[in-house]
């Protein structure tokens, strides 16, 4: 006999493909120049616009083809991974730290501190990303550091809001009450009791954020506001290849597919962790 309710019990098996993708990307990001078959800006004009190996005219020497300057696409994709993931990582780390600290403060202190912090959070959440990006780039110029800055400024508020609501719900739990009764100092309660319990949600948010960050960075770079040559970025590659799309599809499409794959992989990982951490899914 089998039972037939489909709730509980099925927290989902780990998404192996997604995890594999993420690990591949991380490896590419960390090893970077060490694993590229060619230097990322090595231009061989004689091999310009060579198609991927499975098409006529392609060869295994350039498995994914070359762009209009004869630069190997595979190498540039790997190099782009480094930029994308490093900027995403840096931005999320800094935004996360600021957001978590302020969220803890607002949630635990309550009262006017909470009100003031949350109004600031609301203000930052209301800022339109593109406008901010344009303004900051106009003021500070483009480049890696400035994109990271833009991403931090527009993102920290989401962490603050999440952590604050987690704090509010954890604050009422008995072990926090007992810590207060024991006379534990508020900052210790916040870091030793509340933060570890909010870590799950923060991790999920951060993972889902990686995809967002990749898209933001790629968009900025595509618009010419982000990564500048000779640095390599998937967004830049998208822009470069645009003009050749009709007869050399790989110059644009492959970077585009890489972006999609990267975003989906991190999202799948984040989603799976979210389900796994969900307290209601536990028996």
């Amino acid at each position: 006999m089998t039972a037939d309710n489909d709730d509980a019990g099925e927290r989902g098996r780990p998404p192996l493909v997604a995890i594999g993708c993420c690990m591949l990307l991380l490896a590419a990001a960390l090893l970077g120049d060490l694993v590229t078959p060619y230097a990322k800006d090595f231009a061989d004009l004689s091999a310009a616009l060579a198609p991927p190996f499975w098409q006529d005219g392609g060869s295994v020497a350039h498995p994914l083809g070359t762009d209009m300057l004869g630069r190997d696409l595979l190498s540039r994709l790997i190099a782009g991974a480094r930029i994308s993931l490093l900027t995403a990582g840096a931005a999320i780390f800094v935004a996360g730290t600021i957001g978590v600290l302020l969220g803890l403060l607002a949630g635990y202190a309550g009262g006017w501190v909470d009100a003031v912090v949350m109004r600031i959070v609301d203000a930052f959440l209301a800022l339109p990303f593109i406008l901010m990006a344009l303004a900051l780039v106009a003021a500070l110029g483009s480049g890696v550091e400035n994109i990271i800055l833009v991403m931090i400024v527009t993102n920290w508020a989401r962490y603050a809001r999440l952590v604050r609501s987690e704090v509010l719900s954890i604050k009422g739990r008995d072990f926090v009450t007992l810590a207060r009764i024991a006379g534990v100092a508020p900052h210790l309660i916040a870091f030793r009791h509340i933060l570890p319990n909010a870590l799950n949600s923060i991790t999920v948010l951060a993972l889902l954020d990686v995809g967002r960050a990749i898209i933001l960075e790629s968009s900025l770079s595509f618009l010419g506001l982000g990564i500048q040559p000779p640095a390599v970025s998937w967004g830049l590659m998208l822009a470069d290849g645009k003009a050749y799309m009709s007869f050399a599809w790989w110059t644009t499409t492959l970077p585009g597919l890489t972006i999609v794959a990267a975003v989906m992989a991190f999202n799948a990982l984040g989603d799976w962790l979210k389900t796994r951490f969900d307290p209601r899914a536990a028996l």
Binding site: M1, T2, A3, D4, N5, G9, E10
Partner: protein, 322 residues
Amino acid sequence: MTEHVAPLVNAIGLTVAYGPVARRVRPVADVDLVVGAGEIVGIAGESGSGKSTLCAALIRALPRTASLSGRVEFAGRDLYALPAGELRRLRQRELAMVLQNPMTSLDPMFTIGNQIAELLRARGGSGDMRARGIDLLRQVHLTAPELRWDQYPHQLSGGMKQRVLIAMAAASAPRLLVADEPTSALDATIQEEILVLLRGVRDTHGTAVIIVSHDLNAIRRVCDRTVVMYAGRIVEDGPTESVFAVPRHPYTRGLIASLPRLEDDDIVLSSIPGQVPDLARLPDGCAFAPRCPVVMPVCREQCPAASGTSHRAFCWAAEALP
């Protein structure tokens, strides 16, 4: 006295298991249980006894990860062999369930009236549901039912919500109503009311009622028959009066003894030493043996068989006693 009336629910050798083979957990093990039409049966036990799992198994409400063996018959038909359509019809007309937490059983987005009307319509009603619905609320002694009809769940107290849920459960005059800890989340003075209501459903509609509870006093007050569970097995099963007056299983005796009585001048609290065993690591033989005051060598080797007929006890020592 001949028994030619077929039981409403008949579980034979029912076992529910979870988990990988190496660490199999059996919240219900080898249960034979009969519930007659119009009978009020109380399933008593503490945490880890398996009573809630048994309750779910009897109405085919277990999660997909559960594997069952044995048989559950409802009105003579194999419950687990029913196709989906028939099962749904059964659930609409003949089976009803009331859960422990009335706070979460009602949808906070819709008014009480809305939810009752939806239920009545699903059971084949048509026309003006309001009058019928308000009448149902009156039957469960909900004060000012016309007012409540348009209110939202959060505007009602726990006791009131539980009344609404019982009203909804009894609406189709089901043959079986299962109540899993119906009074635990409620205040003492309201618990009484809810128990009265549950008995009322049987008296009015002839509904059989299964009440799962850790509150022995509640079961004693309202149930015709009492079933006591420990570590997934039934340890005692008989008419309530008999079980409480002359408990045949040492666990039942210990449980009843540990209930303090307010009327005693000098209250003495006793407990059963040790704690409920981990279902993943049950000892051989009787699961209660490590805590049993009358344990014998055979108890540690073999699981006890039933002794007695109308009042059964699963205990080797009970065989020796009348």
